[in-house]
């Protein structure tokens, strides 16, 4: 099919392929606000086709070497923003040092989408129903941002601000995500409730816990599809820290969710139902976490 054909429905735009971060930032600055970076295109292209977005310029960032690759850097695994979802499944370093991401990856969309969609794109978009942004919260990851004013690292806790709103300013790029290396005393669990495999979940959750034997020393529990942003449930976390995962503690954590979550209105999944599902999911995951001791 060529441009004359029926499938082309996006409004016309210009395209620029950046070879370096500087070129990308520069192109964005020159286009004013009327530009978008494109990585895997798995969210942006549908938005263009639906004419929900119609920027004048697309800046292709997929050829910027500095934003690729997975490697250890100090106590962190540095995951380049361009790392594709499928690489989260295939890359041994991810399986070893960020197993929560490895566990979440099969739930992100379908193979064709995972072949193109990028980790950085997913975090930058910050869809509250997405798996990876929520996992950066559970992992206490740091997001590396480069923009006209320089380079900085923002903790995931400070990154997600509101619906599709993050610490990222227009014209800034995520270059990498730094994930603290997985340690021997840590345990993790991930699952989601989606009616069809590969769909955005009705509720999903990832957990990272640091344990001493049965005792939970630290725990980070992050939900997705529960509100405007990926959401850590600090009330539930607090009920668990310092104790072991017995039925009573798990029930207390489930009960705490009521204070932690304020699910949005929706016909298909009304708030009370979503809260119920979050409780069920948390109970199941904590049960599994307890069994993996």
């Amino acid at each position: 099919m060529d441009i004359e054909e029926t499938a082309v429905k996006a409004r016309a735009f210009s395209y620029f392929r950046a070879a370096t971060i500087d070129q990308a930032l520069d192109a964005h600055a020159r286009a004013g606000d009327d530009a978008r970076f494109i990585a895997g295109g798995q969210s942006l292209v549908p938005a263009l086709s639906l004419r929900l977005q119609a920027p004048r310029l697309l800046i292709d960032i997929t050829h910027i070497d500095e934003m690729r690759g997975v490697r250890r850097e100090g106590g962190y695994l540095r995951i380049g923003a361009l790392t594709r979802h499928c690489e989260m499944l295939s890359e041994p370093l991810v399986a070893e040092f960020a197993p929560l991401l490895h566990a979440a990856a099969p739930f992100v969309a379908h193979p064709a989408i995972r072949n193109r969609g990028t980790f950085g794109g997913s975090v930058a978009l910050a869809d509250p129903a997405s798996e990876f942004p929520a996992m950066t919260l559970a992992l206490d990851a740091e997001i590396e941002i480069v923009g006209p004013t320089g380079r900085r690292r923002v903790k995931a806790d400070d990154f997600f601000l509101d619906l599709f709103e993050t610490a990222l300013q227009p014209g800034e790029l995520i270059t990498a995500i730094y994930v603290p290396l997985f340690k021997a005393d840590q345990r993790f669990a991930f699952d989601e409730l989606a009616r069809r495999r590969g769909d955005y979940a009705m509720v999903g959750c990832g957990i990272m816990a640091t344990c001493a034997g049965d005792r939970i020393n630290d725990i980070r529990i992050s939900f997705f599809s529960v509100g405007n942003t990926p959401t850590r449930v600090k009330g539930a976390e607090a009920t668990l820290i310092g104790s072991s995962l017995d039925a009573e503690r798990i029930a207390a954590a489930q009960a705490a969710l009521e204070g932690d979550l304020a699910p949005p209105d929706s016909d298909e999944v009304p708030p009370a139902m979503r809260l119920h599902l979050a409780r069920v999911l948390l109970g199941r995951l904590l049960g599994r976490l307890g069994e993996s001791a």
Partner: protein
């Protein structure tokens, strides 16, 4: 003269054999030719501006800016097309009292659903046309809305059609036997109100059309992704005033239809008009969102039904009321009341009882039209009947198999007339029930269920018997005044090389019509299947016929091919007999060779007969005119429909904490009469079941209070996918119809007919330990959790 149809051991015995379809490789290799692949010289592209309002007055339309955009050739509004296209009305005479407002390609002054096309733009590319749409300004004035069934029926509420006093499209009533009496004396009565959401076909290939009007020849060619090219040839001819012989409709490869591509769509009619106005080819392909808001939807029923039984569990009577909402118009030319009509007539169909009463009320509302989609009416009638039977079984204390065994019409009791007026030639409910019991290891499943329940795992087992309507006669549409044929035609020719070309009026939408026709021709003539070429879907070359819908391709099209082939064979043997100085009756054809009928010794190949007939007719006896082309038509006679039957079973697990349902295994025992190609029959059953499971668990067109479709994308409208689908185990019983030589009935809708009923019964079976029942389809987590009072 031909050997018995069931013997698979003789040469060329293709009937009953699983042979791959000849077109599969071509389609797999990406060499299909769909309408969307078509690019004609000077072709332009249409796009439509759609109404954002479900019901509104069009105050003004400003198209000035759009017209000025470079590359735009035409901007047309309702009045432009109304000048050249006559209006259509979606009613049929045999639905007495039915009404529907006249329709035009684009509305003149009022929109009646959100998504209705209002303005057409034709441009040099689709993208330019879409750009132009953004420059059009339409001023609307909201009108009061009718969205759901209750508000449509509310006294004093808004009325959609000016001049009407209410929103009723059609009412029908059936009353046979002594219903009140039966209920008054019943030992048990079960009653429930059921609801069935809207869903839609979601074909892989959306609707697509290229209209090409040639003003010099006064001829219209339409390349149209449709099941029924002949119907559209007739309609384009009559509504645009072009002689039928000058209208050609070509339906080549079709990427699925399921009934959806049978109907007149406003955009499609408009595209024909746009091509006439421009004198150039115009193409329109619906995108996915457009498909969701403008393809027909199906179902949308609310049924209240009760069943009376005696103390032993004998069904005595049923009393049913079906309310169904169909959109703002009835579809043309097949109407939107056929589904409701079939709902009330298929109720209780497998069973023996005689007292039946039903009311049907078909209602207008401000949504897109509903109409015929795979298994029209069947899933509703089946779900209601079969759920009531299960409720009755529980009440009487019978097992679901036992109550059905007790009540189905006995296999040796045919012919029978149902209390709803359908005449059954021969069905096999008893044989199917028995076979299903073994096939699903029913006792084993029940034992496992009991075991798992103790561990908090809730499995459900459901069964559902069904009757399917196939091979429709003129009783279906013809008697109502629709110019929709129930006969088919075939033209068979021997090529000079001795192969056979078969032009036939049935069409191919991916189900393998061409494969089975070539099997029948090869089988009946006695040649290799690869020497039969089947050509379909072009009104310029294929004879007029009904085409493929309602499960008629194999039963009617197949019989047409069979009879045509027998005629051709007679002609070939006549010439062969002259050449060989034999009696035709002493000869037969095997593997493309004329043989002695008795000894099967080869005498002369068909290719030699063809050579002589076409090139050396001088060597034939004087006065001989070889007829190596025959044309033949076949219209079904005898029973007005060939009913089929079967039974499905389902094993599933309900997660009572999340409301999720996992279908573990699905079973079907089906009787479609003579099986021509077991592989294709099984594909039809599997595909149909998957569509039925989609309806049961996932698919629903959801609307907001303002009449907006809120899930018009494949991210939000859930179609069943491979990961969620179970293995489907299939078995057959074969009761051929005696109305035809072939004996084949239809099979395309059987899977869809009962799959959702089966799931409904299985989910309710899983929920028996709780005080919870489900009576609404689709069965979603929210409905289950609500029934279980989990939040």
């Amino acid at each position: 003269m031909s050997a018995p149809l069931t013997s698979l051991d003789r040469p060329n015995s293709y009937i009953g054999r699983s042979v791959p379809r000849p077109n599969a490789k071509r389609l797999l290799a990406g060499r299909g030719r769909y309408v969307s692949d078509l690019r004609l010289p000077r072709m332009l592209y249409a796009a439509f501006l759609r109404s954002p309002h479900a019901h509104a007055k069009i105050v003004s339309i400003n198209t000035d800016e759009a017209r000025k955009l470079e590359g735009v050739h035409l901007v047309a509004i309702g009045a432009d097309l109304a000048k050249i296209c006559t209006p259509w009305t979606g009613t049929l005479d045999h639905f007495k009292g039915m009404i529907s407002a006249p329709q035009l390609p684009l509305p003149l002054d009022r929109v009646v659903w959100a998504g209705q096309a209002v303005v057409a733009v034709v441009a040099e590319s689709r993208a330019i046309a879409e750009d132009a749409l953004e420059l059009i300004e339409v001023d609307y004035e909201d009108l009061p809305l009718v969205v759901d069934i209750d508000s449509a029926r509310a006294a004093g509420g808004p009325v959609i059609n000016p001049g009407s006093t209410n929103n009723i499209c059609f009412r029908a009533q059936l009353d046979n036997g002594a219903v009140d009496d039966a209920f008054a004396h019943a030992a048990h009565v079960v009653e429930e109100e059921f609801s069935f959401g809207r869903h839609t076909a979601v074909t892989l290939e959306p609707r697509a059309i290229v209209a090409d009007y040639d003003p010099a020849a006064g001829a219209l060619t339409v390349h149209h992704a449709t099941q029924t090219p002949y119907q559209f040839q007739d309609l384009y001819s009559r509504h645009y005033g072009i002689a039928e012989a000058h209208v050609r409709v070509v339906a080549t490869d079709i990427g699925g239809s399921f009934g959806m591509k049978l109907h007149v769509y406003h955009e499609d009619m408009a595209v024909v008009g746009l091509s006439i106005l421009l004198g150039r080819p115009v193409k329109y392909v619906a995108d996915r969102i457009e498909s969701f808001v403008s393809d027909i939807h199906a179902r949308d029923h609310r049924v209240r039904a009760r069943m009376a039984l005696d103390a032993k569990g004998e069904i005595l009577a049923m009393d049913v009321r079906d309310l169904t909402a169909i959109g703002a118009f009835s579809t043309y030319p097949r109407t939107s009341v056929v589904e409701g009509n079939q709902v009330i007539r298929l109720m209780g169909a497998p069973y023996r009882f005689k007292n039946y009463r039903a009311t049907l009320e078909v209602i207008f509302q401000n949504k897109v039209q509903t109409s015929q989609y795979r298994a029209v009416g069947h899933p509703i009638a089946c779900a209601v009947t079969e759920r009531l039977v299960d409720m009755a079984a529980a009440k009487v204390g019978l097992d679901p198999f036992s109550i059905r065994a007790q009540n189905v019409i006995a296999d040796d009791a045919y012919p029978q007339t149902s209390p709803t007026g359908y005449r059954f030639e021969a069905l096999s409910h008893q044989a199917c029930l028995k076979r299903l019991h073994e096939l699903m290891d029913y006792d084993g499943l029940r034992a496992e269920q009991a075991d798992l329940r103790k561990r908090g795992v809730y499995r459900g087992i459901g069964i559902a018997a069904f009757v399917e309507i196939t091979n429709p006669s003129p009783a279906f549409y013809g008697v109502g005044g629709a110019r929709i044929s129930s006969q088919d035609g075939a033209i068979l020719s021997v090529t000079p090389s001795g192969e056979v070309r078969c032009l036939i009026s049935v069409t191919e939408q991916g189900q393998g019509t061409e494969a089975i026709i070539s099997q029948i021709v090869a089988d009946q003539l006695g040649i290799a299947q690869e020497h039969v070429k089947v050509i379909t879907g072009d009104t310029e070359v294929t004879p007029h016929g009904g085409a493929t819908w309602a499960c008629r391709g194999a039963g009617i099209g197949g019989e047409t091919a069979l009879q045509a082939t027998r005629a051709l064979k007679r002609n070939i043997l006549e010439i062969a007999a002259l050449i060989l100085q034999e009696q035709p009756s002493a000869l037969d054809i095997i593997n493309g060779e004329i043989v002695d009928a008795g000894t099967r010794n080869q005498r002369i190949p068909i290719s030699e007969i063809a050579r002589i007939a076409y090139f050396r007719s001088d060597t034939l006896p004087p006065g001989t005119q070889a007829q190596l082309t025959v044309s033949h038509h076949f219209a079904p006679q005898g029973y007005p429909f060939a009913f089929t039957n079967g039974i499905q079973g389902c094993s599933l697990e309900v997660d009572v904490e999340t409301g999720f349902v996992k279908v573990l295994k699905h079973f079907i025992v089906e009787d479609c009469g003579r099986i021509i190609n077991p592989m294709l029959v099984d594909e039809q059953l599997r595909g149909g079941i998957v569509q039925g499971l989609g309806a049961a668990l996932f698919e629903e067109c959801r609307y907001s209070e303002t009449g907006q479709l809120v899930n018009g994308s494949l991210a939000d409208y859930l179609v069943p996918m491979a990961m969620e689908m179970p293995d489907i185990v299939i078995a057959h019983v074969e009761t051929p119809t005696a109305d035809t030589v072939l004996g084949a009935k239809g099979v395309g809708e059987a899977g869809t007919a009962a799959a959702s009923a089966c799931v409904l019964n299985a989910v309710n079976d899983a929920l028996t330990p709780f005080d919870a029942t489900i009576n609404s389809i689709p069965i979603t987590p929210i409905k289950i959790l609500k029934a279980l009072k989990r939040f």
